[in-house]
Subunit: 172 residues, 2 copies
């Protein structure tokens, strides 16, 4: 399970440390910690950026959503993302749907299965200047993962500096 | 291409005829036609219902979104969906991402490729009483498909009456 989550951070690319100083995310923050203990409020209502699917050990199906600042930046096509932008990746098992296949008469349908984790990336160019201006976070069953796991995010994301460290492209 | 679209209607399940009488979709309507000529305004800003992937000939990757009436119904768990509910399926090619795989060092990443079509289902229990209360529509490159194609929707959807004809389940 730990391996899966580590891979997930690197592969699906979305995570975030929710800072109390990020205007778009007025979350409570543990004193002295740069890691958030609460999931950003309202993220499930955010707009769609795109979808993603990771095969192999991950077997992951994701919906990638953005808060208003992130969506505005995507739609304008201007990089880097502004401070306050937050991107969320809602991960589920990539699951064969027997009930759908039964209707279609063939095996072809895959749906979002059990939720696995939610990852966030939060832009704050000053606070997270050492990691390209992005903070990373992941929640498993609503609980934040430990710092050691989050330290694996940046080394992978920094490979795509020309896209401001964000793997997911906007789907029209 | 026609075959793909026909399959898509049956398989991914979402389509809609946008009626001028549907309160949540005040779209212009061609006089004398029950088929919409305009895509529902603002659908790209709607909230996420779930994601879907169809293999085989479809090779389809979908984000399924709902207007406020649809999302409210999903979250309440109450069926049938109320009049005015609209469900949208944004379809793309299920596409291997070489740029992501290069960073990950292995072939595993699939993303939304070229858009293929957008489908809508619109609930109006009176207007569409002959098709379970749902109107169906599909747009290819922004243009509505012909009525013959839309007539293939209902026979497949009516197989799931216990879910009010909607295949897609809400992802938490």
């Amino acid at each position: 399970m730990k391996r899966i989550n580590l891979l997930s951070v690197g592969a699906v690319t979305l995570a975030g440390i929710i800072a109390s100083t990020v205007p778009a995310s007025p979350q409570a923050q543990q004193s002295g910690s740069i890691f958030v203990t609460q999931i950003p409020r309202g993220y499930r209502d955010w707009k769609l950026i795109s979808v993603a699917h990771e095969e192999g050990n991950l077997n992951s199906f994701a919906a990638v959503l953005g808060n208003d600042a992130a969506i505005k930046a995507y739609r304008s096509g201007k990089l880097p993302f502004p401070d306050g932008a937050i991107i969320a990746a809602l991960h589920y098992r990539h699951t064969s749907s027997e009930e759908n296949d039964k209707v279609f008469g063939r095996s072809q349908s895959f749906v979002a299965g059990a939720p696995t984790n939610i990852q966030f990336m939060v832009k704050d160019s000053k606070k997270y200047s050492s990691t390209g201006g992005w903070g990373f976070a992941q929640f498993n069953d609503g609980k934040p993962v430990d710092e050691a796991m989050l330290k694996t995010c940046f080394p992978c994301h920094q490979a795509i500096k020309d896209r401001d460290l964000i793997f997911t492209r906007y789907a029209p």
